[in-house]
């Protein structure tokens, strides 16, 4: 049984690769700067955010954060990766209805493709992060490489969620709108531009700690910004959220996938 799955995946891995490269080709076709936009876009977004938080919303930015620019950029990049890749994954199965009605392809390829595309994009935008770190004269720690762990776990977590959303969206288009609202709420609870401690509210702190996004972002900041190693608890929490969500996603997807063709 498992062997069949592996064979199937190996046979279609080139398709996965081709679909991702198509995404890139189409995204940057006819733009002069091309792939450079993957770096420029987050850089400019962060510049805008930084200016806003230093002028208009100066009261809202977290206190006691030594390098606010880097703190903000990390939160932004990771959260946007999660939001964009899950949103793309959500409509991926639906958007390929034409194809799925005509040939047999393992259907999970499409959410997986979108998460990979998002991940590659996110890796590009880390060039923007490095640029911000250089500009602000932040220290570069060797532990920066450990940041890959929370990032990859976040990708697995997003894949699980993306599979659930993709399956649900086939049957109920409402999910698309609900997810947009939900991620906006989630963003405010992810401590992107503040620290949970600054409010002195234990309940709120506890609530934020339950947010897996906050855990991933914090683990990433610890390694990249503060030069710390990941604690055992952090390693465990990151992996647990990712694996539970992936298992759930695969379960939901497998239960429903045979009916996709009839509803698209």
């Amino acid at each position: 049984m498992l062997k069949l799955y592996v064979q199937d995946f190996l046979r279609y891995r080139y398709l996965l690769y081709n679909l991702i490269s198509r995404d890139f080709k189409l995204k940057y076709r006819r733009s002069v700067l091309g792939v450079a936009w993957s770096v420029l876009n987050p850089l400019m977004m962060c510049a805008v955010m930084f200016v806003i938080f230093n002028t208009l919303m100066a009261g809202m930015r977290g206190e006691g954060i030594e390098n606010f620019a880097v703190y903000l950029v990390i939160g932004q990049l990771l959260f946007n990766f999660f939001r964009e890749s899950t949103t793309m994954a959500m409509s991926s199965v639906m958007n390929n209805a034409m194809l799925l009605r005509k040939v047999y392809i393992p259907k999970y390829i499409f959410p997986l493709q979108k998460i990979c595309f998002g991940l590659v994009n996110c890796l590009f935008s880390f060039i923007a992060l490095i640029i911000v770190m250089l500009i602000t004269r932040a220290r570069l720690y060797p532990t920066i490489l450990l940041g890959l762990y929370p990032l990859l776990m976040l990708a697995v977590f997003s894949l699980g969620i993306g599979m659930i959303l993709a399956a649900m969206a086939v049957f109920f288009r409402d999910v698309i709108h609900l997810w947009e609202v939900f991620t906006t709420i989630l963003m405010w609870f992810s401590a992107i531009f503040y620290t949970p401690e600054q409010f002195g509210n234990a309940l709120l702190e506890g609530l934020i700690a339950l947010n897996p996004l906050y855990q991933y972002i914090t683990a990433f900041r610890d390694t990249v910004m503060y030069g710390q190693l990941l604690s055992g608890a952090q390693i465990l929490i990151c992996a647990a959220w990712a694996l539970v969500m992936l298992a759930l996603g695969m379960f939901v997807f497998k239960k429903t996938q045979d009916k996709f063709v009839l509803y698209m």
Binding site: R22, V103, Y104, V261
Partner: protein, 250 residues
Amino acid sequence: MQQPIIEVNNVSMRFNLAKEKSESLKEYFLQLVKGKLRFDEFFALKDVSLSVQPGDFYGLIGLNGSGKSTLLKVISGVYKPSSGSCKVRGTVAPLIELGAGFDMDLTARENIYLNGTVLGFSPKYIDAHFEEIVEFSELRDFLDVPLKNYSSGMVARLAFAVATITKPDVLIADEILAVGDFLFQEKCEQRMQKLMSGGTTVILVSHSIEQIERMCNKVAWLEHGRIKMNGPTEEVCEAYKQTTREDDKI
């Protein structure tokens, strides 16, 4: 007797023809509460059994809406039957609605690779057969043109060329020979004959009864989702033509 290469056992395919298709959660729950969540069931296939021997050239005939294409999709794995089972021993190359997986914004060259991997080929394999594809489709001068600028005949040629570079165990063809000009149709037919002589089993759907008579050795006749008749080409085609003529008289 050899093991059949395709075994279709009592396959039924049920579609929910939801008249009030609930595409939103609100509607769904409203209908659920009102007890209105029922579907008009429609059986595209009812209790169909078929067994195909290796090397057969099997034709499927029947009027529009008799379930021919549904049966092909069950065999190629696109649909999972509502009941019954379908077993295929070997690789399947579906030539159903050619060009699935073409992206109109990409060039022909890029599409050859994309479509090739959709069909499960490796890039190496496509590399090795790239010349052959270009040669067969006669589109060398247009390789770097986006597909949206192609005519439908050109797209069909490219699709046929990509889909047939493989040597599949089973080739499934749904009225594909109706594409392109007559010269290209001849070329397609020749290529299918060549695949056949290499031991490939072919299942062909066509509305052209002459084509079926010329190419197939066995024919199944579908009517309203059931197999009405199944056997050697002459018998089935004769009976099929008979009824069609009777219908004409009325």
